[in-house]
């Protein structure tokens, strides 16, 4: 699987309160509506201009703070197809995997990628290609990759339960 899209680059310690404000966590249940508020308190231009297949690039500890799953769902529904960061908060990492959104750790790539450029992520080869070059990233553990490959935790579980 290959993902090619425009980069939205942000800094270190981007927290889930600015990705999806807490005031919406119990009032918005429609995933499409969640997308309208994605990154609302970080970058008000994001939700208006993000396109299908775009990619978010963050620094260290991306998605820290509250474990609200909507912070993963909202960017996916907004069109984001991968998040690349130097490191992820563990709950954010899990929430992305569980919603079938690729999370990629590569500090070298993050430093090299420029905001706004078009980059390509090859999930099978484990490579990120940007203007500055090509960077490799390690594969997810097989147990985790299985969830991601089935499209997220819910389809994955249904497959195991035989209810799909």
């Amino acid at each position: 699987m290959s993902i090619k899209g425009k980069v939205w680059k942000y800094g270190d310690d981007i927290n889930t309160d600015v990705i999806f404000p807490g005031k919406y966590t119990y009032t918005i249940s429609d995933p499409n509506e969640m997308a309208e508020h994605a990154l609302e308190d970080l970058d008000p231009d994001f939700a208006k201009n993000v396109k299908e297949n775009d990619i978010i690039v963050g620094g260290k500890n991306f998605g820290c703070g509250s474990g609200r799953e909507q912070a993963a769902v909202c960017i996916r529904m907004a069109g984001i197809r991968a998040v690349i960061a130097k490191s992820f908060s563990r709950l954010y990492f899990r929430n992305c995997v569980n919603n079938g959104l690729p999370v990629i750790v590569s500090a070298e790539a993050v430093d090299a990628i420029e905001n706004g450029e078009i980059i390509e992520v090859d999930m099978d080869k484990g490579t990120i290609t940007c203007a500055a070059g090509t960077f490799e990233f390690p594969a997810l553990p097989p147990e985790v990759r299985g969830i991601f490959e089935d499209g997220g935790l819910i389809p994955h579980t249904k497959k195991i339960l035989g209810t799909d």
Binding site: K23, G67, L91, V144
Partner: protein, 416 residues
Amino acid sequence: MGQTFAEKILSKYSGRTVVPGEIVEVKPDIAMSHDNTAAISVTFEQLGVDKLDDPDRHVIVLDHCTPPANEKFAMNHKITRNFVKKHGIKHFFDIEQGICHQVIIENGLCLPGTVMVGADSHSTTYGAFGAFGTGIGRSETAVIMATGKIWFRVPETIKIIIHGEFPDGVGSKDLILKIVGEIKADGALYKAVEFAGPTIENMTISSRIVLPNMAVELGAKIGYMIPNEETLEYLEGRAQKEFEVVESDPDAHFEKVLEFDISDLVPQIACPHTVDNVKPITEVEGTKIDEVFFGSCTNARLEDFEVVAEVLKGNQIHADVRMLVFPASKDIFLEAMRLGYVQTIAEAGAIIMNTGCGPCMGNHEGVPADGEVVLATNNRNYKGRLGNNESEVYLSSPLVSAHSAIKGFITDPRNN
């Protein structure tokens, strides 16, 4: 080679000896959810399973927006109550009971040597009782409802040893803020954090809870401490089942050992807009405030009420400040009333609110206006956290919050 607490408990629950980095599948003893149960129940129903794997493992507490601020929150509560009835979930606590983590503790459901997960990032709190407590997502909670199971990566462990006695005016909130300020918001990313040392051993239960509660602000998977004597006494006659204390072996391998001496610690303040932007109070003293939020799963327990009442007794809250008070549970509220703390605090001009999470994630009850400054005893001060991204939030101990409420600005309790 011995094992750390995290390695030992995940070995026990997965039925094989594990090392850090491995992925294990375990069956948690408790899975907690709160107002998000409504959304979780919808996901559960998508799984094509009629019954919960084990209704007795689930604890549901309505606390995040109580009483409901509008019809949407009210519907969440209604859907949750219907789900509880339909599936016969006995550990259900409605809106009058309190904040989920505190209610779980008071009801003897937070037990040493158990695995407890919660659809709430502050589920690291349970480590104060020697449990493996960690936050999970909504989808994962739905899957536990269906299968009883969840995966974890076995974490490496960082041991934080605390020495010394708290100076006057300084307490556990100052200590955890100091730690977060030093090792930063990713200082324990994916790791288990074990708090140890004589200081930890001698702290009260309420003070101890503050440390694992905020371990997640270090990025930690769990915060853990060996249950002390007071903790084990508290559980006598309260624990809902038998338990076995699990401790790290003396020869366990810790990835890192950090030591803090608190003998010279001063009150700490987390400044806008991150929890790790921590400064000694001397650097921010005098900052004008508009609101004091005394509440949350971090700091709204009986001993916090005692501290606040002692400061406010015979004083009036500054005319330009609103102080909002949210007891962490109904039991705490009743006890604080019986002991006269509630009377004292209300006489000083504070507003006594209902038990619950209050404005902690900006749903209702005390959302600040544009340009306003809030001094809060909760655990997060991210931009927009209290519901308005044009406001600023500083975090402090309850003691600092009470002194500051009187003066109208951030005030060092040691000078007053």
